[in-house]
Amino acid sequence: MRPFAYETAADVASASRFGREAGQGQTDAPTQFLAGGTTLIDLMKLDVLRPQRLVDINPLVARHSEIEVGPDGLRIGALAKMSAVAAHPEVLATYPALAQSLQLAASPQLRNMATLGGNVLQRTRCTYYRDPSWTACNKRQPGSGCAALEGVNRNHAVLGVDENCIAQYPGDLGVALIALGAEVELGGAAGARRIPFAELHRPAGKPHVETTLKSGELITAFRVPAGPWTRRSLYLKVRDRASYEFAIASAAVALDMDGEVVRQARIGLGGLAYRPWRAEAAEASLKGKPLTEETAEAAAREALSGAITHGHNAYKPELGRRTMVRALLAAKTMEA
């Protein structure tokens, strides 16, 4: 860990002012915001991140961690702790996929520390990224290559990847947020703005630039719109261990059903993709059809059709399909 200046921000404006070198979505910007610290401190110890300044935004918790459930949807302050949101009775009842994605992530201790804003920005678990002694990593060192392509890549992504990077987006919450069509409220020197969550993470191309956040900008809240699908939603996480493990495949599914027929399906995939992934073609293929084993499988084939594998992760498209089918059929049996 390199030495850094430690500042405390009292509000969004001062955070943004301190954080003007927080980079244009770059992974190793010279200024980093410290919230729960569960990703940041870890990567600083590993010498992957070497910020010169940390801006502690924990004093903002009081004003930016509220959970509001209204007729239009859900609004959650970005500094809300994962554990608080996961246990919130109205979130559990009305947005079960969201609550489950938090509940199934990390460990109780980490969920007590980590905030929602930090969670969606957590970094990939790719070892070749997390250990600077590996020289080839385009995410850490643009142009240096990707050691994972021919390395141990059992848990690397198969969707949205290119030859620059096959690192997997490791989060769970992001999968639920993208399925539910969430929006992100941002604050910064240039003022507040709101973007679809689907636009927060950049597609493959420049692995060292992960998000569309501007300099000094920070996430202040998430909005999840209400809809007839939110109650009939779930998050299915497939992993080797029964707990405390990142997904090797996951699906967030929300269904609006008219009897057996799908009015609208919303599907997010995790453990499989370079960034939070919405399976829009699969959603379209289900629209207006009865939800059966066959239609679910057809949708799953659609969702994984663009998968690119690299050896150890050759099983992932099939596992992804099965995960999605299982999630869809399980959601069908839920009460709306």
């Binding site: 070892t127 059992r154 261990r241 405390y244 099983y315 596992l319 099965r322 299982r326």
Partner: protein, 749 residues
Amino acid sequence: MADDASWFGVPTPRIDGVAKVTGAARYGSDEPIAHPAFAYLVTSSISRGRIADMKLERAREVPGVLDILHHGNVGSQAKPPPSMTGDKATNTLETDRIEHDGQIIAVVVAETFEAAREAAHKVQVDYAVELPSASFDSSGVTAEPKKQKENPKVGDAASALAGAEVKIDAHYSTPTQHHNPIELFTTTCIWDGPKLTIYEPSQFMWGLKAAVAKQLDMDPANIRTVSRFVGGAFGSRGGTTSRTAWIAIAARRLGRPVKLVATRSQGFTIATYRAETRQHVQLAASRDGKLVALSHEGWEVTSRPSGYNVGGVDTTARMYACPNIATAVNVVHADRNTPGFMRAPAETPYMFALESGMDELAYALNMDPVALRLVNDTQTDPVSGLPFSSRSLTACYDQAAERFGWSRRDHKPGSMRDGDWLIGWGCATACYPTNIAPCAIRLSVTPDGRATVQMAAHEIGTGAYTTIGLTVARALGLKLNDVVVMLGDSDLPPVPVAGGSNNTASTLNVAAKACEQVRDRLAAAAVADHESVFTGADPKGLRLSDGMLVGDNRHEPLAKALGRVTGGALEIHAENVPEGLPPTAIGSLYKGTATMLRGGSRKDVTTYAFGAHFVEVRVNSRTREIRTPRVVSAFAAGNIVNPTTAHSQFMGGVIWGLSSALHEATEVDPKTARYVNNNLADYMVPVNADVPEIDIIMVPEKDERVNPLGVKGIGEIGIVGMNAAVANAVFHATGKRVRDLPIRIEKLI
């Protein structure tokens, strides 16, 4: 003594329990040290080649940096630690050669941990890289038959296989695994003139002391190693690794204590591991299931210089009655660190292959897998022809099968289901040789009716404080509270390496012997004393009980009996050399070498403990996650000293077995021969939610031949065979035979 069952078998909470639940128990890096400097290791990022240049300027500029040790300035000041196989060890700072990933190449020492870490990250190394070989299939590996003693061979297995009615022929493989005790690898060194004190988690206090003395060319009498509590070991702390000597040198150069807490990732390369194996098993039987031939050949990865191997065919050849046995073991040298002992080193991988093979044979015979084991059970070691000192395998199967409900099993694979979950039931045999080694102890008894035991034994979680305390308390007729047990310090009499499940047998037999000497002294003096109530009695008839010397319907307080032989404390220094070992073995122990009397190498009997595992697996019909809701395992291992801690040992072993089946594997990058998942998020070990109901049955077993106390080691048997039981259950659930561990989702899709 083995007759007196009342000595043992009473469940007793650990006497070190309070220390452990309050945070007061001191592990190596918990020792309060005045004004230490902090070390941080720099390790190689290549696996084969040479250090062309090491640039230290940026590291030295870090405020607080005190010293940087590397090949150029200290390389000649220590020799590598002796290897466990007696052949050449891998190097660290002694050379500029890189022989494996993560080799220690520099040690940064600074005023603070933070400064040392920063500076270590700023050391720049230029390498002359050579193409490394990662594992079995890499180009550049070299293979050879193992060099140590011969492999078991009986009859003519090749002919018997050729002519057999039913046979199976299968290849199995097991992965690289790392012990990953939760306590990190730490070393703190303090010099006081010529004397060096080392605080380090160790499974062999006297071995560590002797090895470091050799490395640093010191008189071992000037070295003290301290390890009062060890935060898990599992074999990883049995041998001396290179870090210790460098930290000692760092402390000497600075004239100040130096403390190293290596990182979790560094632990994968600065210590040992369980190497990957490949195995070929051929079994043949007559239609009634009786084995007619067993052939087992293994291949094991090791480092370039070392011939280390575990050679588990020594055990698998002894498992069942079989007239024709052929075995072989080969080592394959790659650019890797040297492997070493890991819980049931030989038995874990090799019994996976044998017990998977037995299940395959059962299906080839259309025979119940339990019945196949029972029909081949034997009281005679098929290799040596000697009797087993005791062998209760059938009783273990009977009791565990009953408890598990095995009779309700439908033999057909894929036949049991609960909703979306496929259910499979599997079983396998557990075993572990009963080993014992020379051991020494100091025991003092004071007039206040208290005893103090001192020995350099190892509390690695086994409950050593309590078992030793219980043994002494019972032998001297004292309350457990009145026995002070001091362990984990090489200033105390030597105890062999806490490996091979020998320590309970080794420490308790010498403790009993010391207590017997106390009794002898007190009894002899009592009968010789004309004013004693025991005048003229047979001294052999006197014993110590409830704080009294008793016998012949007479008794007197211990203090009075003690007063006859001394005005103060009676102190005994006892040594025990198990029958069958040369008398010189005790001298070797004082020089840091533990000579083990092994279960399969005795001249009178073969000594093993046995057990039987039963496990239920559930495999999701779609996504193939594997869960294990319940396990029943039965073990027969002689006298059980403390059922409380014995239960924990068995259960922990079973969980290791589940983990070996489903979770653990260290991934080696094929191009660079580097470990990839070198942390606890990516190297899977079970979490609480993975662990099911585990029902442990301790089958009573009396064994008067194994050793005087009739105890068998139990630290390792629990893991043995469990991996096969799970694989067999997965086959039963899915019809898919997985011969390559661990069994993960991708192998069932």
